[in-house]
């Protein structure tokens, strides 16, 4: 069913806060997980909320995207807690969480997943600078992103992940929040995506509504514009990294902090091979490398690390851009990963986070497939 959620005191944010308060008041929901502005700072972090008063600080739609919450929801759901939680996620966070469900690192059994039209994001460093330089109020921000076509925010560009995202719309959720095409001065549209979502929307006893007519057109426009931006980005990054020497130069500044891995929502190993003794080389090993090549840069194994990560998880990359966000050396990890991910995902006809029942490509096989890669005939 579809309902219209009205604004509260002419504020969309307050209207949404009211919705979350009512959710928390129902018997089905014990806790909420959503972005909350932390007191005494401008930081907005995903938080688990059980106190209705705290919802006053919730900011469901903002340019803050400090991390991909999909991974945090995995922490909340990999075992049963005996509590039902309503979780608000951006589309790429939702896709990441669906991937983690497939890997048994999360479960939606005790969750109500709420998806939304993506409110876009600034990179972490841009967000900090933006907040210091006359930021828009929460409602003005929503109007700006969903009503105006301008792609900058007080001079800051949205992150390249957002600009090239071909699917910034909710999928797989129990409840969807729609903003594109909706008259935001009146409120937002909500739609149930599952039986449990429908039950909740029914319990709110709001009048049924129908989808605004021009939404599909707007969605198509966004997809097309972002797809064009994506093609340009991919072409550019391919040019910059199409050989091992170029790739080496691209990762020159990598300090092996592994932030990109730690912030990657789909890098799923409990213990990464790069943290094991395999890479705890003997001192003599470094000398042997140096003697063989004349020079060896330390830390070693940086290009190897990124290539391995590409092989391990590019099929599951949801394109959230948090790898670039987390890089202290400002390496554009995201662009490289997205360009390779497109290729590997196309090779296995895999679309991460779209269908919960579609197994990860490297976890399955068929007897008859890829026959052309066997043997030593030249391709």
């Amino acid at each position: 069913m579809m309902i219209k959620l009205a604004t509260e005191e002419n504020s969309l944010t307050k209207g949404l806060q009211q919705f979350f308060k009512r959710l928390l008041a129902t018997e089905e929901i014990d806790a909420l997980f959503l972005p909350v502005r932390l007191t005494a700072s401008s930081s907005i972090m995903p938080s688990l909320v059980t106190d209705a008063d705290q919802i006053e600080n919730a900011v469901p739609l903002s340019p803050a995207f400090p991390l991909n919450s999909g991974r945090m929801v995995s922490r909340l759901s990999y075992k049963l807690s005996g509590r039902k939680t309503a979780v608000l996620l951006r589309p790429c966070e939702m896709r990441a969480f669906i991937e983690l469900i497939k890997l048994k690192q999360g479960s939606r059994q005790e969750l109500i997943l709420i998806g939304m039209d993506c409110p876009k994001a600034l990179t972490a460093s841009d967000y900090t600078a933006y907040m210091e330089k006359d930021p828009l109020a929460d409602d003005a921000y929503i109007q700006k992103v969903f009503s105006e076509k301008d792609d900058t925010l007080n001079g800051f560009h949205f992150s390249s992940a957002c600009q090239t995202c071909e699917n910034p719309f909710p999928v797989n959720a129990d409840i969807n929040i729609f903003l594109h095409g909706v008259d935001l001065s009146e409120g937002v549209m909500m739609d149930s995506g599952s039986e449990s979502g429908q039950k909740i929307l029914e319990s709110l006893k709001m009048p049924e509504a129908s989808m605004p007519a021009n939404r599909e057109e707007i969605v198509a426009q966004i997809k097309e514009a972002n797809s064009i931006a994506n093609s340009a980005m991919v072409k550019d990054i391919e040019e910059k990294t199409n050989s091992i020497p170029k790739l080496t130069a691209f990762f020159d500044r990598c300090i092996n902090c592994y932030n990109c891995r730690n912030m990657c929502p789909v890098c799923y190993c409990k213990e990464c091979v790069f943290n094991t003794d395999v890479f705890y080389h003997q001192p003599v090993q470094y000398h042997q490398w140096a003697e063989k090549k004349g020079i060896v840069k330390l830390p070693t194994d940086t290009v190897f690390y990124h290539l391995t990560r590409l092989a391990h998880i590019s099929h599951a990359c949801v394109g959230c851009g948090q790898c670039s966000n987390a890089c202290p050396s400002d390496i554009n990890v995201f662009e490289l990963f997205k360009s390779v991910a497109q290729q590997t995902q196309a090779a296995f006809e895999y679309s991460p986070g779209t269908d919960e029942n579609d197994p990860p490509p490297l976890s399955v096989f068929h007897e008859k497939e890829f026959e052309d890669i066997i043997g030593i005939e030249r391709e």
């Binding site: 080496t248 360009s339 890829f370 030593i376 391709e379």
Partner: protein, 142 residues
């Protein structure tokens, strides 16, 4: 001129039960195959992580071969099918960085195919020589 003296480095991950046994048979049958090919015995091609192949190329291999049992013959039931998916994956990723598709090969060579083993190794060696040195091997990257 350089082509004539080019001795490639080819790393071959061969499974214990089929291709390694075939290599053994080739040896006991006194068949010869190019010494450019360095065999690494693994229990199953299904255990060859993509990172082994990547490391081999970054360390200067001009070619990498993964060779195991024919479909249906895997000692561990389905390891070779898993290997095939990983090779497919690598053949998508490596060319993106200038390591040609044909430098990575997957073959099925059964335990009794000693002659086939020697032939395949010779052909592979010839092909890699024809392709020339891998550009990944001249770099300082490790």
């Amino acid at each position: 001129m350089q082509q004539e003296t080019f001795e490639p480095v080819i790393v071959a991950f061969v499974c214990n039960w089929c291709t390694y046994t075939a290599a053994d048979l080739a040896g006991t049958s006194r068949l010869s195959y190019p010494s450019n090919i360095r065999l690494i015995r693994v229990m199953c091609t299904g255990m060859v992580d993509p990172q082994y192949v990547i490391k081999a190329f970054l360390e200067g291999a001009d070619g990498v071969l993964i060779s195991g049992c024919h479909p249906g013959d895997c000692h561990y039931i389905n390891g070779n099918y898993k290997a095939r998916r990983r090779v497919k994956l690598l053949k998508e990723i490596l060319p993106r960085f200038g390591i040609e598709k044909d430098r990575l090969r997957l073959t099925w060579i059964g335990a009794s195919d000693g002659i086939e083993f020697a032939e395949v190794m010779t052909q592979l060696n010839d092909q890699i020589i024809e392709m020339g040195p891998s550009q990944a091997s001249v770099s300082k990257a490790i």
